[in-house]
């Protein structure tokens, strides 16, 4: 809760600072706020009571290791992203304050989604997360791509919200409560009307599938990712993804665990479909951002495996480690991409040609990020994948085999970037200048990846 408040206040401060004329302060404020929130989370993590259900927030929210840990993930991601904003927002001067504000607002939504104990809070959290993003997607107001992205995201998003709500209503009708705990008890004790519960669960599933962009509810992702400003895309593919999957896991592991036999069928099917479609489609992309969009869809597919293992111990830790490594790698990749693409207006792989000669460190960072996303040892991404697979292997070996084959397929497109950077003999003529913020972010990202390679257990064992 502290983190939530800090972020909210920071957002408001940023809004007002945006109105004044010294916009230089905005980035430091945002970074400071996020950092403070991170510290607060860490403090809660270490000293807060992490025992049982406590109703400090009228059984609406509950800040325990699970929520706190994931808050940590998104806060770290946001911190890194905020490091990029200085240069990333350079041509949004007129709405700078709003941009920072909206980023922080939707971060608040994410925090709600980690710690809800009531469907109302989940619903509000999702909306608080989404509505600012609808706007941010269109924050380049004169860019038709950005506009289109915004409208597509908005229309489909609110459509999905409608379905989600119908599901929640049914669950309410079936179990006479919005409280996750009561729902869980009702389902386990069988004091509920099965049909309504099941339909409700399916409809909620659809809503959440949409949020994490799982096939066949993923159609928005590639277009929106491509159309949105790069920073927003980064935010979507890291924070939103994390929030979505974490909320998903929380709801289904706490609330609907009693009906796991029922919903695991749907989830398994969607997971398989997601992995296959996303990876196979990504092979054909020539545009880096679009490729990353499909890659993030495929990662949603992998993450769904952990949902299937919701009953197993360690599945939460697997998701945590996975989302963390995935977010960091993605942010590093996008940081390099922004520099390269925005400085020569070319988002295709060919833009990276010969980067290893001009900017060896950026190239190395990108390469490591790609290896980590592909889950190749000993990069941190491998451990993410490993723990994910290991928790679900017992129950769904065939899904794991499928996932394994898919992650092999994914190498093909991740390596397109490496090939362009290192192996293509023809080199572009543009120059890449690297702002200090980017250097720091990339460095920090690499450091974190290295750290996670050395001690993955510390994260995995966190919850």
């Amino acid at each position: 809760m502290k983190a939530l408040l800090i972020l909210f206040i920071t957002a408001i401060v940023a809004l007002f600072a945006g109105l004044t004329h010294n916009r230089k302060l905005l980035q430091p404020i945002a970074i400071l706020g996020t950092a403070l929130a991170l510290v607060a989370t860490a403090v809660d993590m270490m000293y807060g009571d992490a025992t049982g259900w406590n109703d400090h927030f009228a059984s609406m929210m509950q800040f325990h290791s699970y929520g706190l840990a994931f808050s940590g993930v998104v806060l770290v991601s946001t911190l890194l992203i905020m490091g990029l904003t200085g240069w990333g927002f350079r041509d949004l001067q007129d709405t700078l304050g709003d941009n920072y504000g909206l980023f922080l607002f939707s971060l608040c939504g994410a925090l709600c989604m980690f710690s809800f104990t009531n469907l109302v809070m989940l619903f509000l959290g999702i909306e608080i997360l989404s509505i600012p993003l609808y706007v941010l997607a269109g924050s380049r107001r004169d860019d038709p791509d950005s506009n289109e992205a915004a409208l597509k995201y908005f229309l489909m998003g609110s459509f999905a919200t409608g379905i989600l709500l119908f599901g929640m209503a049914l669950i309410y009708g079936a179990t006479a409560s919005f409280n996750v705990k009561d729902i869980a008890i009702a389902i386990i004790d069988g004091r509920h009307s099965v049909g309504m519960t099941h339909v409700g669960i399916i409809l909620i599933l659809i809503g959440l599938f949409f949020k994490i962009a799982a096939v066949p509810f993923h159609f928005w992702a590639p277009d929106v990712y491509t159309g949105s400003p790069n920073l927003v895309t980064t935010f979507m593919s890291t924070v939103v993804k994390t929030a979505g999957i974490a909320a998903f896991y929380r709801l289904f592991a706490l609330g609907f665990i009693g009906a796991i036999e029922f919903w695991s069928i749907a989830v398994a099917g969607v997971a398989a479909l997601t992995m296959i479609v996303a990876n196979v489609t990504a092979i054909f992309q020539t545009n880096f951002k679009r490729m990353m969009a499909y890659s993030s869809i495929s990662h949603a597919g992998y993450l769904l495996l952990a949902i299937l293992a919701a009953a197993q111990p360690g599945s939460a830790g697997a998701i945590l480690l996975y989302t963390l490594t995935y977010s960091i790698a993605t942010i590093c990749a996008f940081a390099v991409y922004m520099l390269v693409a925005e400085q020569n207006n070319d988002g295709n792989f060919s833009a990276f040609n010969g980067l290893s000669k001009k900017e060896p460190y950026l190239a190395a960072a990108m390469a490591i990020a790609m290896l980590s996303l592909a889950g190749i040892p000993p990069t941190a991404g491998f451990f993410g994948k490993y723990f994910l697979f290991s928790v679900v292997f017992d129950k769904y070996p065939w899904l794991v085999v499928l996932a394994v084959i898919n992650s092999a397929v994914s190498i093909y497109y991740y390596f397109k970037v490496i090939i362009a950077m290192y192996f293509s003999r023809e080199t572009e003529t543009y120059e890449v200048s690297t702002p200090i913020g980017f250097r720091l972010v990339v460095l920090a990202g690499l450091g974190l990846i290295a750290l996670l390679t050395l001690i993955p257990g510390s994260i995995y064992g966190l919850i």
Binding site: P377, V401, V404, A408, P456, G457
Partner: protein
């Protein structure tokens, strides 16, 4: 000690990659020599009869999942460590002859590879093994794709994905066995009791026959692609031909031994229950591959490609010897892994040397080199004889034991595998004849004889070829007891 073998090259690699000092090659050579020294010391202070792994080094890595950073060597590991660190200086030194652009990067990657390979052979923990196994793949991928030949990108990507898919199945198999290890309470995880990835614990697992069947299949896919065993070999000739010679040497000399080692150390001991079901299939694949590959090699005109196919045949024989899973076969494979490494490095060095001099690898454009370069001709002859397995060269004892092992497994397979000694003579002598004999052509007439460096490298290799040919027991003695122990993990 075990840790040193890995850390020295890795640290040096990071230094070379990050700092990019001017004199990368000298540093690389020094590092490899240092590693060789360490390996030699290990070999000398190694007690052959000793129980289980020696020079243990073990720290918890992911205690909450029972993953340990555990190293150690028994005779088998030791042999491969010797192989790796013996070839490493030669490979580095031979690369001096070529001037690669951004060479500190090149040597950095080579060192990284060496470190990873040592890791593979020393790992006593399943996941650690897997991690090193893949880590070895990354530098070689970069080496091949950056400094490779014409069609390098397509070929190396194919090579990478192909081998990666294979090893992923190995990961699954490891995972399966891991999930069936007994829950051990570790002091590292307060109150938590976890599975364990330690080799000793994995070996202890008793699998049901059908699950063992799957586990072994997973392992086999990984190692069959790596070795490679027919029909998983098609990445190999292209890769060998396209890679820079240093890379080819690493691949053929050391890396494919990872596959054989994996079979001996991991595949069979972890899923022995399925061996008797699988081994007929594996054996027939391997034996068929021997004949198939050596037959194809008969008419190859590209020197590197020819050696590549011959290597498939030789490794096929090694694999057959291993799958036969008897003392003769295993000991033979031990010996032959070392010898094949030496010979194939020698052959590729020769090929590279000719290519540098003449600018071609096509045998049809050579001939008469023996006249203008007698020293070279002699040493090439020695290396060639080694790979034809003429007695009193290193090739023979290994091949003898391997064939004997296969024969003991099944007479007809032994006979079929024996064809390799005929085919081997056919294609090797043909290649040698086309390259060295005949009237010198305009190009070959002034073919410069070996310079100092080349003389050293080929000389050392030739010396090894002869020396090991006369005294194979020195190697066999190292591995004997370990092989017996591994054998005892399977009762037919």
């Amino acid at each position: 000690m075990s840790l040193l073998l890995i850390l020295i090259p890795l640290i040096a690699a990071v230094f070379l990659l990050v700092a990019r000092p001017g004199m990368g090659r000298q540093i690389a050579l020094l590092v490899t020599l240092a590693n060789l020294a360490v390996a030699a010391y290990a070999a000398l202070s190694f007690s052959p009869g000793g129980e289980t792994a020696q020079f243990q080094f073990s720290v918890p890595w992911v205690p909450s999942a029972g993953i340990t950073f555990s190293l150690g060597m028994d005779g088998i590991s030791l042999l491969l460590v010797i192989l790796t660190n013996l070839l490493a200086p030669m490979i580095v030194f031979s690369s001096f002859s070529r001037n690669y652009d951004s060479e500190s990067r090149y040597y950095g990657l080579v060192l990284m590879m060496i470190g990873a390979l040592n890791g593979v052979f020393l790992a006593q923990d399943g996941l650690l093994f897997y991690v090193f196994y893949e880590l070895a793949l990354i530098p070689i991928y970069f080496i091949c794709a950056i400094w490779g030949g014409q069609d390098r990108i397509r070929i190396t990507t194919k090579f990478f994905i192909y081998t990666f898919i294979g090893s992923l199945f190995m990961l699954l198999s490891l995972l399966y066995v891991y999930l069936h290890t007994g829950m051990t309470t570790t002091p590292l995880v307060p109150g938590g009791n976890v599975h364990s990835f330690l080799w000793s614990d994995l070996v202890a697992v008793q699998l049901s026959p059908e699950s063992a069947w799957w586990v072994m299949l997973g392992f086999f896919l990984a190692f069959a692609v790596k070795m490679p065993v027919f029909p998983f070999h098609t990445w190999q000739p292209d890769t060998y031909t396209n890679a820079p010679t240093g890379g080819t040497m690493l691949l053929s000399g050391i890396m494919l031994k990872m596959g054989v080692y994996g079979v001996i150390r991991w595949m069979v001991p972890l899923a022995p229950e399925a061996l008797h079901v699988w081994s007929p299939i594996f054996m027939s694949l391997a034996v068929f591959g021997i004949v198939y590959a050596s037959w194809i090699a008969v008419k190859q005109t590209d020197l590197k490609r020819l050696v590549a196919y011959s290597s498939i045949a030789h490794v096929g024989l090694i694999a057959a010897g291993v799958f036969a899973w008897n003392k003769a076969g295993l000991q033979g494979s031990m010996l032959q892994m070392l010898n094949h490494g030496i010979n194939v490095v020698g052959l590729f060095f020769v090929g590279d040397l000719i290519e540098r001099r003449l600018g071609t690898r096509s045998l049809s454009e050579m001939g008469g080199i023996a006249k203008s370069a007698p020293r070279f001709a002699t040493l090439f002859m020695v290396v060639m004889l080694g790979s034809v397995a003429v007695p009193l060269t290193n090739g023979f004892p290994g091949e003898f034991l391997l064939l004997n092992g296969v024969w003991n497994y099944n007479v007809w397979m032994g006979a079929a595998a024996g064809l390799t000694i005929i085919f081997g003579a056919v294609y090797m002598l043909r290649a040698y004849g086309l390259a060295m004999f005949g009237e010198p052509t305009a190009e070959t007439a002034n073919f410069a004889d070996l310079d100092q460096r080349e003389l050293i490298i080929l000389g050392v290799i030739a010396a090894l070829v002869i020396g090991l040919g006369f005294f194979p027991q020195t190697i066999l003695g190292l591995t004997d007891s370990s092989v017996t122990r591994i054998l005892s993990t399977v009762q037919f």
